[in-house]
């Protein structure tokens, strides 16, 4: 059995109301220690009001080579952007 501590991805909420954002990773034996370590590694200058830790193993990611099939279809759908429609100035912001 491997004795290496697992890798954790660390997410910090910078301010009340904001989403947690990924700030980096670290190793820790369990979630509780990962939070403690994250406190020391990533919030030494008051960077956060809340910490989330997720074991890196549990993150599934899209692959960069799937860029085409994933995102190209939205390129032709320009009408999803409000500026696609001409709205006369007289009627106000919309």
């Amino acid at each position: 059995m491997k004795n290496e501590w697992p890798l954790w991805e660390i997410f910090i909420r910078g301010q009340h109301g904001m989403s947690h954002r990924h700030v980096g990773s670290l190793h820790a034996p369990d979630a509780e220690m990962a939070i403690k370590n994250a406190r020391d590694v990533y919030t030494r200058r008051n960077e956060g009001v809340s910490i989330w830790v997720v074991e890196a193993n549990n993150i599934s990611a899209s692959s960069p080579s799937d860029k085409g099939p994933l995102y190209e279809p939205s390129e032709s759908k320009v009408y999803r952007h409000p500026t696609f429609f001409d709205i006369p100035e007289e009627v106000g912001a919309m």
């Binding site: 009340h16 109301g17 759908k77 009408y79 952007h81 429609f85 709205i87 007289e90 009627v91 919309m94």
Partner: protein, 325 residues
Amino acid sequence: MYAQMIKSEATQDDPEKLAAFQARIDAGEKIEPKDWMPEGYRKTLIRQIGQHAHSEIVGQLPEGNWITRAPTLERKAILLAKVQDEAGHGLYLYCAAETLGVTRDELTEMLLDGRMKYSSIFNYPTLNWADMGAVGWLVDGAAIMNQVPLQRTSFGPYSRAMIRICKEESFHQRQGYDVIRKMAEGTPEQKKMAQDALNRLWYPSLMMFGPSDKDSVHSAQSMAWKIKMNTNDELRQKFVDQTVPQAEYLGLTVPDPDLKWNEERGHYDYTDPDWSEFFDVIQGNGPCNTDRLAARNKAWDDGKWVRDGMLAHARKKAARKHAAE
């Protein structure tokens, strides 16, 4: 609005904790799912966010009705994209509600058996293409009026969902205005259709903001908790003030003979909708209540084998992977 007549739940919590909680809200802090919160706050929010989510989902039906019959391929693609956005809005909101300890299936079941409501507006039919214009312009316009202030609501996940939704709504209203403008500037028959759509949807749109403030007895607690940011009449007035010039630009007449600019107030005076009709629709007696619920129930029942099949497949795959390890 998308959430109408949300009754604030009574709360029986330790007064000291309640005061500290209120102080956080007054200081503009956001409440997050794992923070302590009064039971009444939690329950009221589940009901409000749930009703909001249901409205996004049921709200796809009146517009979905016209996707296959859009007049051009471009209009069809646009309408499809708009309805797809609404599905997304429903999902953001269900997820926000789920952080409060209710499950997606519970919320769905409460919609399907009528224990939870959705906005009264979606119980009106969409009779022709002009209605696609009027819905985007008026219904999404009214929704925006309500959702913009909710970006500042006290519950973090709700506020963040609103911020995301508001970014997407501008497209909805503009595509609607573009549709109705084409018709208003078209042949006399088309212009007549545009006017007819406005005539039918004007008052139902005003009803979206909920009953008049004098009959809206549940607001105070929700406003203190920053679950509700404005009174119903405030938002309705804002909507009227914004929409009247837009109708005038189109050469359309708002179906309210008493509508007029009040110099002194700096607002339009307008006629309230027929509130007995509103309460009737809420009670289930609108023109489309039965159809809408039947459509959602059918979608849920017909989708069961897909949901079950996907889950069975995922479980099988996980078991196989487990066995290989």
